[in-house]
């Protein structure tokens, strides 16, 4: 866990240096940092502030405004479930429940094994083929509970596969 929270300040410096002179540079910089580090490290805030001649409070204010930016590392996979109306009409509320039960996490949380971070999303633009989810940069349509389970199995490492099998077995027994 502590390993994964590490970040490369040299890379962050490079991102900032390459973008700081473009107009309205802050969002591109934050994207650049999150894309390379997986999150926006709180300690990078003063570096950004310094480069843009702004206060750390201003930078922090922007980071906290947008749902996309995270200030701590995510799990191996970021899993977003569309909560918007078109997917609701196709049963996304039931899917949400299934996912939360299966992964044993609520939104904005990461599974204990660090495999999945669960997030809500408001529309992926796949509204004719819902319910939709996004797994990292891939969007998956017409997701049923079974299809979701298959997907999780595909993404999960062998160890977790055994763990979840065990937990399913123990749930069945009880």
């Amino acid at each position: 866990m502590t390993n994964r929270a590490q970040w490369n300040s040299q890379q962050v410096e490079q991102v900032i240096a390459s973008l700081k002179n473009s107009p309205g540079a802050l969002l591109p910089i934050l994207h650049g940092i999150q894309d390379t580090q997986g999150f926006v490290p709180p300690d990078s805030v003063p570096m950004i502030a310094d480069a843009l001649n702004q206060t750390s409070a201003e930078i922090h204010g922007v980071i906290s405004f947008y749902h996309h930016f995270r200030t701590s590392p995510s799990g191996q996979n970021v899993l977003q479930i569309c909560r918007a109306e078109a997917c609701q009409a196709r049963g996304s509320r039931e899917l949400e429940e299934h996912v939360k039960t299966k992964l044993r996490v609520d939104y904005h949380a990461t599974t204990l094994d660090q495999e999945f971070t669960l997030e809500p999303v408001y529309c992926l633009g796949n509204c004719a083929c819902g319910p939709s989810i996004r797994v990292n940069d891939e969007i998956v349509g017409r997701v049923t509970n079974d299809k979701f389970d298959d997907l999780v199995d595909e993404l999960t490492t062998v160890e977790l596969g055994i763990m979840s099998l065990n937990s399913v077995a123990s749930e069945k027994q009880s």
Binding site: L27, H67, N126, C127, A128, G130, I139, G141
Partner: protein, 522 residues
Amino acid sequence: MSIKVYVPRDTTTLSLGGNKVASAIVKEAEARGEDVQLIRNGSRGVFWLEPMVEVETDQGRVAYGPVEARDVTGLFDADFLAGSDAHSLALGKPEELPYLKKQQRLTFARAGITDPVSIEDYKALDGFKGLEKSLQLNGQAIVDEVKTSGLRGRGGAAFPTGIKWQTVHDCPPDQKYIVCNADEGDSGTFADRMVMEADPFMLIEGMIIAGLAVGSTQGYIYLRSEYPVAHEILNEAIGKAYDAGYLGQTILGSDKAFDLEVRLGAAAYICGEETSLLESLEGKRGLVRFKPPLPAIEGLFGKPTVVNNVLSLAAIPYIMAEGGQSYADYGMGRSRGTLPFQLAGNIQQGGLIELAFGPTLRQLIDDFGGGTASGKPMRAIQVGGPLGAYLPESQWDTPLDYEAFAAIEAVLGHGGIVIFDETVDMTEQARFSMEFCVEESCGKCTPCRIGSTRGVEVIDKIRTGVNVEANLTLLDDLCDTMIHGSLCAMGGMTPFPVQSAFKHFPEDIDLAIAKSTSAEVH
């Protein structure tokens, strides 16, 4: 000679296994020694048939769909490479599909036919004609043509595009900006995404023309981060447009310049509001600005700025190529031209349907929808995104026209149509509208920021049977405050779905109460 096989590369096709189908075709062709050239086109928007595979034959293109990877061997066995109709997934010529044949495609004329990042394909089907004409005209003449077309902003507010352009045109020469609003956050909409994924050069062309019209040399496309596929395709297309001399310091060798860049949003619905979008582009929190000043006069970095929706800008190449009048010849009343309607939610045949304004909602659903996906009767339709009203069946005969919808306290918005079947609990939908506003309000004005939170609480009380009559009155009062006191449409329109849900579906209140009390008993 190799046989051309098309498999779309848009989000919807990919979300249904498009890449697996594409690689299965390549693999199978290799195994059989067939010389196949795979082309990744855009989608035609017939999403219920995606992944729709097309083969080029002597008689034109022949379609098969919806294809899954496991169907590929069978397609080869049935000789689909020769366009055979022996396979059960054979659809015949795609342009003969009734779903497409009944449409009036002006903006989406090329969608699904071309490789989205091929300039040759684009030019072969009238691409850059409008730009070439515009380069011969002065700015005012372009603005006049757009005024003639009657085009109104397709983001939802329906403000006349020509007038907006005129305002920016009339500002003294300065650094001016063209900003494309590609923050398509409304649930039930995907037309912007389809433009960017199926025909991005059309958007690029529209933006260059806008630059010529108002005297701007810099454009930004503000794209939502939820659209990774569109992001990739847009950037590819922009790179090619630079290489071919359509973008840069000398557009097609002229003395006109235009630079274009995609800027990524960061998951904030409010950034679809134009002033909030500008704040975000400037690198700030996406807080809504007071108006005036209008963005046309003091917009991005305080400079005159055209902010247009993707669909508005995408309509420009046709208008300039064919003339504003030929666009205005479509439509009804003050709603001129076409609108790409997007059929979504619980529907059998979801997809994009471009039609002139005028048919009724019911005609659209009956002609194209094919019933609900669940097979259960339809009950409610939300038109115009999360801030649009829920319409009961008694209102489905309303013509699809901005004014006709305004008359029933509804909006056409960006053209999204979301179908719900009879299992929907409308009080739950009303609650969600308020909850969404809590989640996405920028927080600048009190009616929106606090009103939405109170809205959730009041609706929860109603749904659990606490002082129902008094709380319904309170909810109405709260909605009034939000409508009249909010700074922008987020707080000002959130009451539309809420009030329509309670007004048209009052029977759901008792059902919700009964459900909550039975839950307590158990």
